[in-house]
């Protein structure tokens, strides 16, 4: 090989090597299952009936330091602390207690990760933890994984994984206190999230099959069928005299006590409640309410918690999001809605007629079927992360919840597609164009977590 050929080959190798840098950066997207250098727990609660346990592990073989921030979702304030984890070290704390030398009845066993303060009673918000070096600069060994479990009331619990962002270059390109979620420093936030949810107006199928799905028409007691609404009171038959019932069906002729048993039927067992809030009705028979509509007494309510990816933890300027909700039900009927969020919010998908929205609620077209799906996308304020929790209720007042990580869309359709800008998972979703992954943050808005000076 001549000099020029060697030179040409050398240049090509260098050029190809340089080419590989941006191409390779997409190999790990923001996710909930792989170690990262930035963890976000969107839902942290300590409201008196529920608390949250945070579990974080260092999956690497070197010391890991992290700077963590509780974000108070109601007042948009933050509180920070430090974690130090030795190689492979797991740690945990209950946010109601923190992790200090003053934990009762004694300090928790294990290598102290550093004092972790408790959050105040009534706290609802999020937790963000970023790997840092000794100078406080965000770095990336991509070794942290985390889980959050919401406990209470009682034995109820709901668990989800922290959302992990991979630092793309081990922190070598991070020169300031900004954690840029742009696929150059860290993974970008997802372009949209998708939530499958049961229709809140439909009865919960598991409870309908075997639980307390109804209320007796007269007494309002919980029931799971008409026999459950029939009560019996033993009676006494005056077999030595009048052969009539002295208790129970008083005065009725009888020949034994059994004939005097008084049966009261408070049924039937009805599965719905009318709009007036007191008249019980049957959702399978329409119309069964004198006024308004009949809604199922049991059901499943889905709650979505949203945290913007643009976080200014230095000036504490809240980020406002405008969210569009678009989905479909089992009959492919379109569902739509919108929601604005400032700083942080946990809201219920109110897929019902008469929804007025407001804090804690997002109105959505009522589905016609028992199950539906919705894409949630930010139209201003930049991208966001989210987690979902669904509450299941029976008519005896029992409730239980389960949390899941929401799906994150792969990207958006390229400009060449008629679906340009729409959320996509495959090229086949973008006829004439391609599904660009990952979804880039909106130009000029960016997606940055700005940390205060160390």
């Amino acid at each position: 090989m001549g000099t020029m050929q060697r030179l040409r080959a050398g240049w090509l190798v260098v050029a190809l090597g340089l080419c590989m840098v941006p191409a390779g950066r997409g190999q790990a997207q923001v996710n909930t299952e792989r170690p990262g250098s930035l963890l976000i727990f969107p839902k942290v609660v300590n409201d008196g009936t529920r608390t949250t346990v945070i579990q974080i592990s260092n999956t690497g073989n070197s010391l890991e330091q992290a700077r963590c921030f509780y974000i108070d979702g109601q007042r948009c304030r933050d509180m920070d602390f430090h974690l130090t984890l030795t190689k492979q070290q797991p740690t945990f704390w209950n946010v109601a207690d923190g992790r200090t030398m003053h934990n009762t009845p004694s300090p928790l066993p294990g290598i102290m990760p550093g004092p972790v303060p408790p959050v105040p009673p009534g706290f609802v918000g999020a937790l963000v933890c970023a790997s840092i070096d000794r100078s406080g600069t965000p770095v990336g060994t991509n070794s942290l994984i985390g889980k959050a479990t919401l406990y209470g009331p009682g034995e109820n619990s709901a668990k989800y994984n922290a959302i992990g962002f991979v630092n793309k270059h081990g922190g070598t390109n991070v020169t300031d206190n900004n954690v840029d979620l742009d696929e150059l420093e860290y993974n970008a936030c997802p372009g949209a999230v998708r939530v499958n949810f049961p229709n809140p107006a439909a009865p919960d199928p598991a409870i309908v099959a075997a639980g307390n799905w109804g209320q007796c028409r007269v007494s309002g007691l919980p029931c799971s069928g008409d026999p459950g609404c029939i009560t019996s009171t033993p009676g006494i038959c005056d077999v030595g005299g009048t052969f009539t019932c002295t208790t129970g069906t008083v005065g009725a002729p009888c020949s034994s006590d059994a004939a005097c048993t008084l049966f009261i039927n408070d049924g039937p067992c009805l599965n719905g409640i009318c709009s007036d809030g007191s008249t019980r009705c049957d959702t399978t028979r329409a119309p069964s309410c004198p006024i308004g509509v009949c809604s199922a007494l049991t059901g499943s309510v889905t709650n979505v918690t949203v945290l913007p990816c643009n976080l200014n933890l230095d000036t504490l300027q809240p980020t406002s999001l405008a969210l569009s909700l678009n989905g479909t039900d089992g009959e492919q009927n379109p569902l739509s809605g919108s929601k604005t969020v400032s700083c942080w919010e946990s809201f219920t998908l109110e897929a019902r007629t008469g929804c007025t929205g407001g804090p804690g609620h997002a109105c959505l077209t009522p589905p016609a079927t028992d199950f539906a799906t919705v894409n949630i996308k930010s139209t201003s304020g930049g991208p966001f992360v989210a987690v979902a929790e669904t509450f299941h209720l029976d008519t005896a007042g029992n409730a239980s919840s389960a949390a899941v990580n929401v799906f994150m869309a792969t990207g958006v359709c390229s400009a060449a597609s008629p679906n340009a800008g729409q959320v996509c998972n495959n090229n086949s979703d973008c006829a004439g164009g391609t599904c660009i992954a990952p979804a880039p943050p909106p130009p000029g808005v960016g997606s940055t977590i700005r940390l205060p000076a160390y």
Binding site: M4, W11, L12, V14, A15, L18, C19, P22, A23, A28, N31, R34, R50, T51, Q55, I56, S57, T59, Q88, Q89, P90, L108, P109, I111, I145, G146, G152, G154, S157, N161, R194, A206, A209, A210, G211, N212, P222, C223, S224, G228, G327, T328, G330, E331, Q332, T369, F371, T373, N398, S400, V404, N405, F407, T410, Q422, N425, N426, N427, S428, C435
Partner: protein, 426 residues
């Protein structure tokens, strides 16, 4: 000519050399742009090769299906699993083929009795037996056609009804059958296929999103409701051109050996290591008095659903590395040849000895730990030994049981060794 601010090497280069270098640079830059364009065009498929429960996929697995309609395991409580499945494609019809795998164990001393542990068998052993009802077998399948964006749900114990769809021109309701028995522990697998004929091949598409909610309910007073949910684990296809796959099996990764069934991957590979943050068993409850226990659910990635009976999955050894909060390391191992659900503190102990387990808080001395789970890979050419998993945390209490479930974290995928899923030909 030598310039002060020029590079020495450049300064010693002849004019011809500089021109050549310029051409090379131009060529390199052009090549860079071209290669970058090609790589960027490939980006979605590169990214699609990671198993994930938070992304859509063409082949999804629900590793935990629990049905106990008669309250055998929890007297007075009925257990059922509710599935939610969505076709996230923006256009077009998708045909989904789903399979139930029954992994219910039975008592050796009462083969018709389902069991979880030997305690359910009155002292007899509980395990996989090939009696009248062989354990660990593919039991029931069904097809569902879904329009773009269509979201459906059904119950494992009672089945369900799928509304008519528009894109697939199915005007009528479709019926999803129940899993078939009153007591079932198993898994459900769904794959996008070319059509609804038996033996139809999977297609290159990643449109499915699924969740499962396991509900334990009791009627009467006080009654009970306890739910736990997880996301289906997705294996995205490598290509997404909607073309039918031609390899005769779903290849989760590739085995780079001549003669192997999966020299080329059709879908993402199974994870090499699973990482789990968990409480050690017997840790005190957080908001309830009962101790906390964790069940680990592991499902083999390789399955031959043409085998009607035991042996649909190869026996696999899995190794555990456990770290406590003192950074102390412990290890254990076990094996599985089918879906296996195990209480952590019973992995390394005999019945009754759970408190002495290395997964017990009494042995570890700290309340939580990190466990790394690694399958031992074989060298067969037609199957692999990858596993996927879930964790289930539960706390017994006077009111029953409180539970939660979660997907697990993964490290890098298995490399150079494919897992093979053979779909039933009938």
């Amino acid at each position: 000519m030598r310039t002060l601010n020029g590079a020495v090497g450049r300064g010693t280069m002849s004019e011809r050399g500089r021109a050549m270098a310029k051409r090379v640079l131009t060529t390199a830059v052009t090549s860079c742009v071209a290669v970058a364009a090609v790589l960027l065009a490939m980006l979605p498929r590169v990214e699609a090769q990671l198993v994930a429960s938070d992304r859509t996929a063409g082949y999804i697995v629900f590793p935990d299906v629990e049905v106990d309609l008669i309250g055998q395991f929890s007297p007075g409580r009925s257990v059922d699993t509710i599935f939610e499945l969505t076709n996230t494609a923006t256009t077009g019809c998708r045909i989904v083929h789903c399979f139930y795998v029954d992994a219910t164990n039975h008592c050796a001393n009462a083969p018709s009795r389902a069991c979880r542990t030997s305690a359910d068998c009155g002292g007899g052993s509980c395990g996989i037996f090939s009696g009248t009802a062989p354990d660990c077998r593919y039991t029931r399948n069904f097809w569902v056609s879904l329009s773009a964006g269509q979201a459906i749900g059904w119950s494992a114990g009672h089945g369900g009804v799928v509304p008519p769809d528009r894109d697939c021109s199915r005007p009528d309701l479709a019926i999803i059958p129940p899993v078939g028995n009153d007591v079932v522990i198993g898994e459900l697998k769904c794959v996008e296929v070319a059509d609804s004929n038996p033996g139809a091949p999977p297609i290159n598409a990643n449109d499915l999103k699924g969740e499962a909610t396991i509900s334990e309910v009791a009627d009467g007073l006080p009654g009970a409701v306890d739910v736990r949910s997880y996301n289906a684990i997705g294996f995205p296809t490598v290509a997404t051109d909607l073309a039918p796959q031609t390899q005769g099996a779903i290849c989760l990764g590739a085995t780079a050996s001549p003669g192997s069934l999966c020299e080329v991957a059709t879908n993402a590979a199974c994870p090499n290591t699973i990482v789990m943050n968990h409480w050690f068993d017997f840790a005190p409850g957080v908001t309830s008095p009962g101790p906390i226990f964790t069940n680990l659910i592991l499902a083999p990635c390789s399955e031959d659903l043409n085998i009607l009976g035991p042996g649909i999955s190869p026996a696999t050894t899995v190794q555990f590395l456990i770290y406590n909060e003192f950074e102390q390391r412990f290890s254990a191992s076990t094996s599985l040849s089918c879906l296996r659900k195990m209480q952590l503190s019973e992995i390394d102990t005999a019945p009754g000895g759970a408190q002495l387990s290395i997964f017990s808080v009494y042995v570890q001395g700290t309340l939580t730990g990190q466990t790394r789970i690694h399958p031992v890979l074989g060298n067969e050419l037609d199957r692999g030994h990858g596993v996927i998993g879930l964790m289930q945390e539960w706390t017994p209490s006077p009111g029953g049981v409180g539970s939660s479930e979660a997907n697990l974290a993964y490290t890098s995928p298995i490399s150079g060794k494919a897992d093979v899923v053979k779909l039933p030909s009938q």
